[in-house]
């Protein structure tokens, strides 16, 4: 942790040095780096494109949280499910969505993942187990529980990860969902992305006990806190929880602690926030930390790491080009498509 500034260590005492879990293949580590770089590149471009009015609506960047989605999704398979939040790009990419179709969606194009009807806030790819971003905080949580019910009834061994923010933990449905998962011993992992902010509202103003993992006690399940800027820490905790869940061990509550670095949404200047804190956060940048670790640990050469990063950036750039130039606006006559199933139209 050579670059992490002192203040950051005070703000986030849970920061732990990166260390790949023993047995984690180089391929896996490369994947992790690639995905984290892809998310970083994707959302950096989204921010620019939004500012340039090429992307419409609202968009929330996953920048700074990459270690969480990637650490978690590397611990599950394509057949497993995740539920998401308003900040869903990272989850979608980590779960393996096509970057071109994703970017096309943000451009509102017909070739987009959602045919231009969802945009950033509803980005989804149910075929690969990504149950959709949602603009209503908390509303995705019970879907992870539902996926776990399906797993239980269909007996197919899948697990579900319920991603949500610290803000989301104060929605009633959070409590209801975790209580049911515990009572019914279902294979769900509750993964709190605790960046200590809900827009401009600090966690400490709205929650007395800020060690959110302690809430697990009340549900009789295991609760753990991990370093949210540390992809291996997240990965290990999720992996353990997933293994347990697959064996019928029920849910786990994992609090991945980090700090939001960028603004809440792509145009938020964070005027309400201590600017020093923000620059301090950058010293714990999860992408830089991973790059540095991989080189220092001699897992990869600097050149290889740079190449991985560049390839990820290139992929995203290609996605932007694709969305911008090769895709089409949804035809007006698709307006009534897919309100109902099987082509049914009710005017």
């Amino acid at each position: 942790m050579k670059n992490i500034c002192k203040n950051m260590k005070t703000l986030l005492p849970g920061l732990k040095p990166l260390k790949a879990p023993s047995g984690l293949s180089k391929k896996k580590q490369e994947d992790m780096l690639y995905k984290m770089c892809a998310i970083r590149a994707f959302d950096s471009r989204v921010k620019e494109l939004w500012m340039a009015s090429e992307i419409y609506g609202l968009a929330h960047a996953y920048i700074g949280a990459e270690a969480i989605a990637v650490g978690a999704c590397e611990a599950i398979t394509k057949d497993d499910f995740i539920s998401s939040t308003h900040r869903g790009h990272g989850h979608t990419l980590a779960k393996g969505a096509d970057t071109k179709a994703m970017m096309a969606e943000l451009f509102g194009k017909y070739e987009g993942l959602n045919r231009g009807k969802g945009g950033s806030m509803h980005i989804a790819d149910v075929d690969i187990g990504m149950l959709g971003a949602t603009g209503i905080v908390g509303s995705g949580m019970p879907h992870a529980l539902g996926a776990a019910l399906s797993s239980d009834v269909l007996d197919n061994g899948t697990v579900a990860i319920c991603f949500h923010g610290d803000g989301g933990t104060n929605q009633g449905v959070w409590h209801e969902t975790i209580n049911m998962a515990a009572a019914w011993n279902l294979p769900v992992i509750f993964l709190i992305e605790n960046n200590q902010y809900a827009i401009a509202t600090k966690l400490e103003w709205v929650t007395k006990e800020q060690d959110l993992y302690k809430r697990a006690i009340g549900y009789g399940i295991e609760g753990v806190q991990v370093d949210g800027f540390n992809v291996f820490d997240v990965y290990s905790a999720v992996k353990k929880a997933v293994d347990k869940a697959r064996k019928g061990g029920g849910p786990t509550l994992i609090e991945a602690r980090y700090l939001r670095i960028l603004g809440h949404f792509v145009a938020d200047d964070q005027a309400y926030r201590d600017q020093g804190e923000i620059s301090d956060c950058w010293t714990a940048d999860p992408v830089e930390r991973l790059k540095e670790y991989l080189v220092d640990s001699e897992t990869f050469s600097q050149a290889k790491v740079d190449k991985i990063e560049q390839t990820a950036k290139d992929e995203i750039e290609a996605a932007v080009e694709y969305a911008r130039n090769e895709c089409t606006e949804p035809p007006a006559d698709t307006l009534y498509d897919d309100i109902y199933a099987n082509g049914e139209v009710i005017i």
């Binding site: 959709g132 539902g146 996926a147």
Partner: protein, 327 residues
Amino acid sequence: MSEITVRQALNDALREEMEIDPTVIIMGCDIAVRGGPFGVTLGLLDQFGRKRVKDTPISEPGFTGAGVGAAATGLRPIVEILYSDWLTLCTDQIVNMAAKMRYMFGGKVNMPLVIRAPFGAGGGVAAQHSQSFEAWFNHIPGLKVVAPITPYDVKGMLKAAIRDDNPVMFFEHKRSYQITGEVPDNEDYIVPFGKAAIRREGTDVTIVSYSMMSIRAQNAAEELAKQGISCEVIDLRSILPLDYETVMNSIAKTNRVVVCQEANLRGGLAADIVAEIIDRGFDLLDAPPVRVGAPNVPMPYNAGLEALCIPDEENIKEAVMKVMSND
């Protein structure tokens, strides 16, 4: 054919669909061990076990949302909200999730979810257990909304709802469980949505109704027949989609229409139907359409006051007389 109750028809529909399709599950407060407060789900737990028949905690948003998530991932869940008044607790999951997910996701998800919600007034259960909110859900594209009342329809439409790949609001009238009627034995039938039933043919006035109001409308029509007024009673059965073809064909014949609902009149479904009738056939009308509904009052507990708030045969007859008097 056997004469069975609405309760039995619901129970049969649930059981048969659960037998046919192992992905059908049902959950709600108290539905398993106790078979529900109205006895509709009795026996299902024993037959299908705890995985598929779930007593939930009192967590309506959570278990409705779990139904949404389960529907998106391979099950066909049926969620019971014990009194439709409490749909207020889980409207977010129904309106902003179940109804919209397929559209928001560009068609790439299925949402075969049934929400069963006993509705309607009576019995002194007062302001929080007597409401009818079908008008709200009619406002939400992506949902289907039905409210059958005969055992035949109730069974056939619940089966259709379970097989539908869209979210369906299934409104059962909570005072209807003892109503009896003929239902075919050993026949796997469904009653498709979007087709109204003409319960009584008539030539003077069309009465558009659904659920319990269609029974009251038939009673009123019988009495009016004695006074020489011939009413055609339409039981919509399905509210969204709504069979305007049948409605307009009837009005083309009678040129007069009364539209009935049990909910508070203001902002109710009857207004929407009237506005549509006006759009589709203003020229067919010899008199302004008349609506029947409850006064705009929260349901009072006292039996006498409550009676003033449940639209009945008298209200329907008055409405028919009004639409007849107006040329």
